[in-house]
């Protein structure tokens, strides 16, 4: 591991001031915030992350979980994934979020990993994690050996000719389905970013994964109030029954009245270069009676534009079936 200076930030302003000197908040950042460390320490050992300064933000009081001002949920940036998954409000009102978190990683990792760290976790693409390989995300312009190489786990949506790395988060998929908003404090003050706008598509700059700039500190993530009477779930399909990243996953929620769908929302994981949500695909469900053919049409709309590679074409049908099954469950 490359050497670094360790700083314990006294408060958020101090962390932001230190982070402002990072050059970039994306790949190649010279300053990194340390929360749970489960991604950062791993990637520093691999030589993928080489910060000169590591700023500990675990003592800034950003670990709360409670009611947001609008009656929704306010989740502190350094709240542990375990605490969020088992929180009474989450279990009662956002069960898909609890299920998504508990479907990811192991208890040891969830005890350390945090809200913001989970959102910022990096792709598991093996070429990204191996500094001996080319990778446009890690070393811009060096090429993408995953295209034409080992890409069975990688994305079929939101890809570009430069990068097909999939976003590995389960938590973010459930948060996206719930219209999560990321709260950021930076050099220029505070701002709020809807989660769907927070993540960037790779395009021709796959080293840029989100909208964060040097000094930006995620302080919390908020969810609007859960819809009364909604049923939700998170369905994750993977190669092993536990402790494995998703091949495909779906976070779904629906409200029903007199046998018909009033509102339905869903997001897909494992298929996109970012957590994937297509509101137009959800919209065709409103007012309809639950029906497998209807759900399949919604899935087709959500997956329109998919560009599978040689090894991951199976994800297209697997994602359709995953979504149809999950929608069937919450509308039964």
């Amino acid at each position: 591991m490359q050497g670094f200076a360790f700083q314990r930030a006294a408060d958020a302003a101090a962390a932001i001031a230190l982070g402002a000197g990072a050059g970039t908040a994306q790949q190649g950042a010279r300053v990194r915030f340390l929360a749970g460390g489960t991604t950062l320490i791993d990637l520093m050992k691999l030589g993928v992350e080489t910060p000169e300064t590591v700023v500990d933000i675990n003592h800034l009081g950003l670990d709360g979980i409670g009611r947001a001002a609008d009656g929704g949920l306010a989740i502190g940036a350094t709240a542990r994934n375990s605490d969020l998954a088992h929180h009474p409000i989450v279990l009662a009102e956002y069960p898909a979020l609890s299920q998504a978190i508990l479907a990811g990683a192991s208890t040891q990792l969830r005890n350390a990993a945090t809200t913001a760290g989970n959102l910022l976790q990096r792709t598991r693409c093996m070429y990204f994690r191996d500094p001996a390989s080319a990778c446009n995300k890690r070393a811009p312009g060096s090429g993408c050996p995953a295209i034409g190489g080992a890409h069975r786990m990688l994305a079929i949506l939101g890809t570009s000719e430069h990068c097909i790395a999939s976003n590995p988060s389960d938590m973010a998929v459930a948060m996206l389905m719930h219209d999560a908003v990321v709260h950021v404090q930076g050099v220029g003050g505070a701002r709020q970013v809807p989660l769907d706008d927070f993540f960037l598509l790779p395009g021709d700059r796959p080293e840029r994964e989100n909208v964060l700039e040097p000094g930006d500190l995620i302080t919390e993530v908020t969810l609007p109030p859960a819809e009364p009477g909604a049923r939700s779930c998170y369905l994750k399909l993977r190669d092993r029954v536990s402790y494995e990243f998703a091949l495909v996953s779906a976070a779904v929620s629906a409200t029903m009245a007199e046998g018909r769908i009033v509102t339905a929302r869903f997001a897909l994981g494992g298929v996109g270069t970012k957590p994937w949500r297509i509101p137009a695909a959800e919209a065709i469900l409103a007012g309809q009676a639950p029906d497998a053919a209807l759900f399949r049409r919604a899935a087709d709309l959500a997956l329109a534009g998919a560009r599978p590679q040689r090894q991951n074409g199976f994800k297209l049908e697997l994602a359709r079936r995953c979504l149809v099954h999950a929608l069937t469950q919450v509308t039964a």
Binding site: A5, S106, T107, N111
Partner: protein, 160 residues
């Protein structure tokens, strides 16, 4: 491994199994390397060193974590418990005794991590079934495949 010639040092006070240690360390030092190489508590094992195998599982402030993914310098004043801190003198922790009784290991390399996870699991939300235990123990890999007896040992302690 930390570079022994590094000039960057950081002060940290760790509480390990009830004993306090004030140390000056290279900030790159993980809790795992510090326990093993500096404090010579070699019961905690290094498997993958990337948070994937669970061999290095310890308790920090009562919760199980992977010691390989924790910078020691970030755990100033935290309460750390390792496999060496479970027994009271010659009296084994009930989970250690159950692992012996149920023959819940073969080569033994993963066993310290398995037991530290299993002890933590006793205080976690966990359903009653073997499948519930297997799910919550999935972060501890056993190359020898002693899983059936590991689950039996844990269930014996949970049932007692």
């Amino acid at each position: 491994m930390p570079d022994p010639h590094s000039e960057v040092q950081a002060a940290v006070t760790l509480r390990v199994n009830g004993a306090e240690h004030t140390l000056s360390i290279d900030p790159r030092t993980t809790l795992l390397d510090l326990l093993r190489e500096t404090l010579h508590l070699t019961g905690t094992k290094k498997g993958c060193d990337h948070g994937q195998c669970g061999a290095c599982t310890i308790h920090v402030n009562g919760r199980r974590v992977n010691a390989c993914l924790a910078l020691a310098v970030a755990h100033d004043r935290d309460e750390i418990r390792t496999i060496e801190g479970l027994a009271e003198g010659d009296r084994l922790h009930p989970m250690q005794a159950a692992f012996l009784q149920k023959d819940a290991y073969q080569c033994g390399y993963c066993t310290a991590g398995q037991i530290m996870s299993a002890v933590a699991l006793l205080d976690e939300p966990c359903g009653p079934e073997d499948a519930d235990v297997r799910e919550l123990m999935s972060g501890n890999i056993c190359r020898c495949g002693a899983y059936a007896n590991i689950v039996a040992a844990i269930q014996q302690v949970r049932g007692s």
